[in-house]
C-alpha cells in the first residue's frame, strides 16, 4: 500500500514540478501570438527531457555518481570548468527568474509591489533549504504545484472550439502575421523552457539524495514516462488558455497577470486565487531546485561532499555555495529588474547550455563502467542521437535568432 503511495507521490510531484516560470511565461506568450501551432515543440521538449532525465537518473542510480562528477571525470577539469561556467550561468539566471516569479505571484495575491517580496522570499528560500528535509521539499512543492491544473479546468470551462484548436496543433503554422524567424525563435525558446538542464542536475543529484539503487530504476521510469508528459499537458493548457482568451483580443503577454487572466475569465476570482497559489508553489519549488542545482554542480565538480542528506557541517562548502547563489539572486532581483524579462533570457540560454550536459550524459549512459549491463539499447541510442542533433541545432540557433528577432518582438 505504501509502495503505491510512494509511486503516486513521485508521479504527482513530477507533474507539479514540471512547470516553472519559464514554462508559464513562454507558453502564455506563444499561445497569445501563435495559438496552439507550436504545441509540437512542447511534445518534442517533453520527449527530450524524459530521455535526458531517464539517462542521468539511470547513471546515478547505478554508479552513485551525479552529473558534474561525471562531466569532470570524462572531459577533464579544464573542459569541465568551461562547461560548469556555462551551466551555472544559466541555472543562476533561472534562479533569479524563479525568485522573481514568486514575488510576482505574491504581488498578484496581495497587491504589494514584487520588489518588496524579494528579500523575504530569498530569506525564506535559504531557511527552507537549510533546515527542511529533501523529501519534504520535493513533495510539498510538487504537490502544491498541481493546483496549476486550474489551467486545464479553465480551458474546458472556456468552452473553446476544439476543432479550431486541433487544427492549429496539426497545421503547425500560425494564421497570424508572424514571420518565420519569430516563429523559429519561439520554437527554440519553448524548447529551452521544456528541456531545462537544471532539471537534470536536480533529478540526477536527487537520485543520490534519495539513495536510489538499481531496484528504484523502474520508479524513475514511471515518474518520467507518466509525470513529465502530464506536466507537458499543463504547459499546453497554459498556451491553450492564452490562445482562447488573449489571441482573439490581441492581448500580448508581458506580465504574470496576463498569464493567469484566462483562468480568472473562466473560473472567477476563486479560480484565480487557486491558480496563483499554484504558480507560487511551482516557482518556489523551481527556486529550490535551481538553488540546489547550482550548489550540486559546483560541489560535484570540485569533489566536495554535498547533499541535503548530510549535516551542514559535513558539507560546509556545499552550503556556502547555496547561501552564495541565493544572495546573488536576491541582490540582482532587488534592483527591480523585470522578472519576465529575466525569464525570457533564461529560457533562451537554457537552449544554449543544453548540449554541454546532454553530450557527456549520453556517452556515460553507454559506458558499462558506470551502468553495468544497463547500457542504452539501440532504440534509445537512436532517439538520443537524434536529440543530440536537435539540441545542438537549438543551441547554435538560439542567440542569432534572439538578436535577429530582437527577443521575439
Amino acid at each position: 500500500m505504501s509502495k503505491i503511495f510512494g509511486v503516486a507521490l513521485g508521479i504527482l510531484t513530477a507533474i507539479g514540478g514540471f512547470v516553472d516560470i519559464g514554462d508559464l511565461v513562454t507558453n502564455a506568450v506563444v499561445g497569445s501570438r501563435f495559438g496552439l501551432s507550436l504545441v509540437w515543440v512542447v511534445v518534442v521538449g517533453v520527449i527530450g527531457i524524459s530521455l535526458f532525465a531517464h539517462m542521468s537518473g539511470k547513471v546515478t542510480a547505478l554508479s552513485g555518481r551525479a552529473t558534474f562528477d561525471i562531466i569532470r571525470e570524462r572531459l577533464g577539469p579544464r573542459a569541465a570548468l568551461a562547461n560548469l561556467t556555462g551551466s551555472m550561468a544559466m541555472t543562476l539566471l533561472t534562479l533569479m527568474a524563479e525568485i522573481g516569479g514568486v514575488a510576482l505571484a505574491l504581488q498578484l495575491l496581495s497587491g504589494v509591489v514584487p520588489v518588496a517580496y524579494v528579500l523575504p522570499v530569498a530569506l525564506l528560500l535559504w531557511l527552507v533549504l537549510w533546515r527542511v528535509k529533501f523529501s519534504i521539499l520535493e513533495n510539498v512543492a510538487g504537490l502544491m504545484g498541481l493546483l496549476l491544473v486550474a489551467f486545464i479546468v479553465a480551458l474546458f470551462q472556456l468552452g473553446p472550439d476544439w476543432g479550431e484548436l486541433g487544427r492549429q496543433v496539426v497545421q503547425q503554422t500560425p494564421d497570424t502575421g508572424e514571420n518565420g524567424l519569430t516563429y523559429a525563435f519561439y520554437a527554440v525558446a519553448l524548447f529551452g523552457a521544456a528541456m531545462t538542464p537544471y532539471e537534470v542536475f536536480f533529478f540526477s543529484s536527487g537520485a543520490a539524495e534519495d539513495h536510489w539503487t538499481k531496484q528504484d530504476l523502474w520508479l524513475s521510469r514511471l515518474n518520467v514516462l507518466i509525470g513529465f508528459p502530464l506536466g507537458g499537458l499543463l504547459s499546453i493548457a497554459i498556451a491553450g488558455c492564452a490562445a482562447v482568451v488573449l489571441l482573439p483580443a490581441g492581448i500580448g503577454v508581458s506580465s504574470l497577470s496576463q498569464v493567469v487572466a484566462p483562468v480568472g475569465v473562466a473560473l472567477g476570482v476563486a479560480g484565480l486565487v487557486v491558480v496563483l497559489v499554484g504558480v507560487l508553489a511551482a516557482t518556489a519549488g523551481a527556486a529550490i531546485e535551481t538553488a540546489l542545482s547550482c550548489a550540486y554542480s559546483i560541489a560535484q565538480f570540485a569533489g566536495w561532499p554535498w547533499g541535503k542528506r548530510l549535516r551542514p557541517s559535513q558539507a560546509p562548502q556545499f552550503h556556502a555555495v547555496l547561501l552564495g547563489v541565493i544572495v546573488i539572486g536576491c541582490l540582482v532581483m532587488l534592483s527591480g529588474i523585470d522578472p519576465i524579462m529575466v525569464t525570457e533570457f533564461s529560457v533562451v540560454f537554457s537552449a544554449v547550455a543544453l548540449p554541454l550536459t546532454y553530450f557527456p550524459i549520453l556517452v556515460v549512459a553507454n559506458d558499462p563502467q558506470y551502468v553495468g549491463e544497463n547500457t542504452n539499447g539501440p532504440l534509445l541510442n537512436l532517439v538520443a542521437m537524434i536529440y543530440l542533433v536537435i539540441v545542438m541545432v537549438a543551441a547554435l540557433a538560439a542567440i542569432p535568432l534572439m538578436i535577429l528577432t530582437n527577443m521575439g518582438a
Binding site: 533546515r131 570540485a302 551542514p312 559535513q314 560546509p316
Partner: protein, 125 residues
Amino acid sequence: MSDRLPRHPEHGGRLIDAELNLLDRQILDRDGHPMLAVGDLVLERDDDGRWTIDRVILGSGLTTRFFGAHRPLATRDTLDWHVVTDVGYVLNTDAERDEVAALWRERWWRDQVISKIPGGNHDPG
C-alpha cells in the same frame, strides 16, 4: 582501428590507465564521503629503476594555475598511494578525513561559517 594491433602479453595483475581510470576521479575517505578529486599523480623510481605511483595529488589545482603559479609540490596536497584501497569509478581510501591537510578550506568553512549558523551541526530534517 587499433584492433589490428596485437594485445600485449599479460602482466600478472590488474591494469589501469592513469588518464582513463585515475585522473579526475572522485576520492572517498574511510567513511565513503567525497574528498576532492585526483588532480595528478607523483611517480617515483624504485631501486630497480621501475616507476611506481608514490602519491596522489588532491584537487585540480585549477585555481593555482589560473593565477599563474605552477602547482607547488607541497606534501600537504597529497595522499600516499598506499592509503588507496580500491580503484573503481571512484578511488576508495582509508584516509581519516581530519588528518588530510588538503581539506583545510573545507574545515575553514565548517568552523568559521557553517557551524556558527544555528542548526549547522544538526542532523538533516
